[in-house]
């Protein structure tokens, strides 16, 4: 070592040792051979293929979203494990430990912030990844199965966030989890307060009880959520993640155009840069913003308003419009099942491996951007996604104390006087309304069309079809407005003024539609009033019918292409989504609570 004539160099010496050779099986010069060996010879890099189409790794194709969500998951694992060293899951200690982390532990605030913000980022990135995969058709055969795995991973991501939310044991945590757990109590059949509850189900053995380990949230819940959050769900998550990544490798990337390039260094370097970028974002975010921590959990005081974490605020907002079993159990289940069903009902082979081009299309006076290929699939999926985020926006920015409507620029007031009153539509009318809405989904199969055309002339099927839709639209309009106007509770439209969006739009105007109509009906004499109301009903009915007709052609084509079963799945999911939107509008504009209400079965829609 001290020989000056021949300078000793450590590296070549080390490289000759058996230990080095046993770990590194190849040298690191940049030759085509080593590029392959790096991927083959490394268990982690072997997740990736050796060579990949150049276009597939373009940033603007995938935006690296899948890889980024994987990386964020790793960050969450690391920070989470570190946090566990200081955290004790007992109600007497948990809150104190979090305070310790934020005040007395070296790097404690940073790790906690990073864990919290990374969790938020992961939800965003996972959703964005799903949207990307949908829009580039990457879920189509042979990747249907992997799409389903992906949806399961999305659900697990949300469940991980939910279980982690309780752990700080502050008011925010307690009440978000109370609301969430109560949804389980409203599960049909197995929930104590759900519809069609089994006779032996009580608060002490229903679905909620098993989730929180008691009848009220307490120590049992905390340890349960701790185990779920730190061990059980991550364990399952990892299994599904392995399958997901392995499947990507087996089914190959969705884009196959362009020359093949070596994954090392082309893809690996991109992934590394993306990881660096994400890490920087998380660092800056954690330095600038502290993770929220409110007062210690107290079952006797509900913060006003108490909001779920943002990714569940959409669900919370949905809970305003629907009964818990619907909004908390049925709709989320249908959303998940619907997402899973997408690759199996979408038989259109187009649109795989590229972003669809958009073109302008004019609808009367308006002109909007429409995707050139798969217009129906893309617009429905995007509408659903946007609707979800609109609900999140409303819940986050438009809801104040007592969950009342405030515009984002309005200051909250705890003493604002709002005598909100809602009204049910009588069951008969409501039932008719729902039935006509569902009937809007009926197609006219090609065979039936031929049959009718053969019997009654070529134009008859079209006319019949149009007539059916106009009739249904009119029926819906009548069922909606007539009971509102002839309701015995005469001051209903007046009292509902606070509930309506119009009221929120300008509290000073104080002139909602129904209120004015009602006055016309009452004061301008029955003839004039009825005429005006009749015209309005007619107009609304015609509009609804026209919309039905506009979608008619598409419905018929879809039915012929998909067959009965797939068509039924698609149309019922579509109707459900639009129905949710419709019900929200009915609530906001007219203050309608239920269309059908059967309290003895806890069944209300």
């Amino acid at each position: 070592m001290a020989d000056p004539a021949q300078p000793f160099s450590l590296k070549p010496y080390l490289k000759k040792t058996k230990i080095w050779k046993s770990i590194f099986r190849h040298d690191f010069s940049d030759t085509p051979r080593t590029r392959l060996l790096r991927i083959f010879g490394n268990v982690f890099l072997h997740l990736q293929p050796v060579r990949v189409a150049k276009d597939a790794i373009r940033v603007t194709y995938t935006w690296g979203l899948g890889g980024i969500s994987f990386f964020v998951f790793l960050v969450l694992c690391v920070t989470g494990i570190l946090l566990m060293f200081y955290y004790r899951p007992a109600s007497m200690l948990a809150f104190q430990d979090i305070k310790d982390l934020s005040f007395a532990v070296t790097l404690g605030p940073l790790l906690r912030n990073m864990h919290r913000w990374a969790a938020h980022l992961m939800v965003v990135v996972v959703i964005a990844h799903m949207v990307r995969v949908f829009l580039t058709g990457a879920y189509k055969p042979p990747r249907e199965y992997n799409w389903v795995i992906g949806v399961i991973l999305l659900v697990m991501t949300l469940f991980l966030s939910y279980t982690g939310y309780l752990l700080p044991w502050d008011q925010l945590a307690l009440w978000a989890v109370t609301v969430g757990a109560q949804m389980a109590a409203n599960a049909p059949i197995l929930g104590n307060e759900g519809p069609f509850r089994l006779p032996f189900i009580t608060t002490a053995n229903d679905a909620r009880f098993s989730l929180i380990g008691g009848t009220v949230i307490g120590d049992a819940t905390l340890i349960r959520f701790y185990v779920l959050h730190c061990v059980a769900v991550p364990f399952l998550f990892c299994i599904f993640l392995c399958v997901h990544l392995w499947r990507v490798r087996k089914d190959s990337f969705s884009k196959q155009t362009g020359e093949k390039v070596d994954v090392w260094p082309h893809l690996v370097s991109r992934e590394f840069l993306a990881a660096l970028l994400v890490l920087i974002i998380l660092f800056v975010w954690s330095l600038l913003m502290n993770a929220p921590l409110e007062a210690e959990a107290n079952l006797n005081v509900t913060p006003n308003p108490s909001k779920a974490p943002w990714y569940f605020v959409g669900l919370q907002e949905l809970l305003v419009y629907f009964d818990p079993w619907l909004a908390g159990v049925v709709l989320p289940t249908l959303i998940v099942v619907g997402l899973m069903a997408i690759p199996y009902v979408d038989t259109n082979p187009k649109g795989v491996g590229y972003w669809t081009k958009m073109r302008r299309k004019s609808f009367g006076p308006f002109s909007i951007w429409v995707p050139q290929e798969r217009p129906f699939a893309v617009s429905v999926f995007m509408l659903g996604t946007i609707l979800w985020f609109v609900l999140i926006f409303i819940g986050t920015y438009c809801r104040g104390p007592n969950w009342e409507w405030y515009w984002p620029w309005e200051p909250w007031s705890y003493r604002r006087l709002t005598k909100l009153t809602l009204k049910n539509i009588p069951n008969l009318w409501g039932g008719l309304l729902v039935m006509s809405y569902v009937a809007m989904g009926t197609p006219l199969p090609a065979k039936a069309k031929e049959l009718i055309a053969a019997k009654a002339g070529p134009k008859t099927p079209g006319r019949l079809f149009a007539l059916l839709h106009l009739g249904l639209g009119m029926m819906m309009s009548v069922c909606l407005f007539v009971p509102l106007l002839i309701s015995k509770d005469a001051d209903y439209p007046l009292r509902s003024r606070y509930t309506t969006l119009f009221e929120a739009l300008g509290r000073s105007i104080n002139a909602p539609v129904m209120s004015n109509l009602y006055h016309l009906f009452q004061q301008a004499g029955p003839a004039v009033g009825s005429a005006v109301v009749g015209v309005m009903i007619l107009v609304v009915g015609l509009i609804l019918g026209r919309i039905g007709i506009a979608f008619g052609k598409m419905k018929n084509r879809m039915f012929d292409e998909l067959g009965l079963v797939k068509y039924a799945i698609v149309i019922s999911l579509l109707l459900m989504m639009m129905g949710v939107l419709g019900k929200i509008m009915l609530r906001l504009l007219f203050g309608i609570k239920y269309l059908i209400s059967l309290p003895m079965f806890n069944f209300n829609i």
Binding site: E193, F209, S210, N300, V301, N304, V320, N402
Partner: protein, 193 residues
């Protein structure tokens, strides 16, 4: 795992351990004809395995339902009736999560838990309503829903007079159906002097 052997193999295999048995059971024969012996063994093996696995999973599910709870008792004494003014008393809201309501006819008691998703509503005297902060449900003095998403009226607790002249409230017995909730143990007649 289940590389099923050819079905035909069963009857005349020399290595068959049952070959030596010259008095075959009728039932056994029937089964043999039906499935073949190895198939039958395999199938019953799987059946046992699934019985075990299903039972194991179910029993583990049962494991998640605790048999003892560390939760406070549900009944408490709320003090003398005369201590409550007419109207809604929030005296026991914090400790016991109940409102005690006194009317000129008598007493009833609400469980301060929104029937929507279990938040604790607040009483707004000026508006004569309970309002829930979570999803904006409103209840009137009778506990009926006047607005918001709550599907059911507020629960009323059983309220009786204890031997020492105090109000005895039991949150374990609840009622909210109009008609049933205004009588029996859910309403305590008490005339104001």
């Amino acid at each position: 795992m289940d590389d099923t052997p050819p079905v035909l193999s069963a009857p005349d295999q020399p290595t068959n351990p049952f070959e030596g048995l010259k008095s075959p059971n009728d039932m056994w024969k029937l089964l043999e004809e039906r499935f073949g012996r190895r198939q039958f063994l395999l199938k019953s093996g799987w059946a046992f395995f699934w019985v075990f696995l299903g039972g194991w999973l179910l029993s583990n599910l049962r494991y998640l339902f605790p048999n003892v709870l560390y939760e406070p008792t549900l009944s408490f004494k709320a003090g003398k009736p005369a201590d409550f003014p007419l109207g809604i008393s929030e005296k026991w809201k914090k400790a016991q999560r109940t409102w005690i309501v006194r009317t000129d006819k008598g007493f009833y008691c609400f469980w301060a838990r929104c029937t929507h998703l279990g938040c604790t509503p607040n009483w707004f005297d000026a508006e004569n309503r309970f309002k829930c902060p979570c999803h904006g449900s409103n209840f009137n003095r009778d506990g009926d829903v006047v607005a918001g998403p709550a599907p059911k009226p507020l629960w009323r607790c059983a309220i009786t007079m204890a031997d020492d002249g105090q109000l005895l409230i039991d949150k374990g017995r609840l009622e909210n159906r109009p008609g049933a909730r205004e009588k029996g143990e859910f309403f305590l007649p008490y005339e104001s002097a």
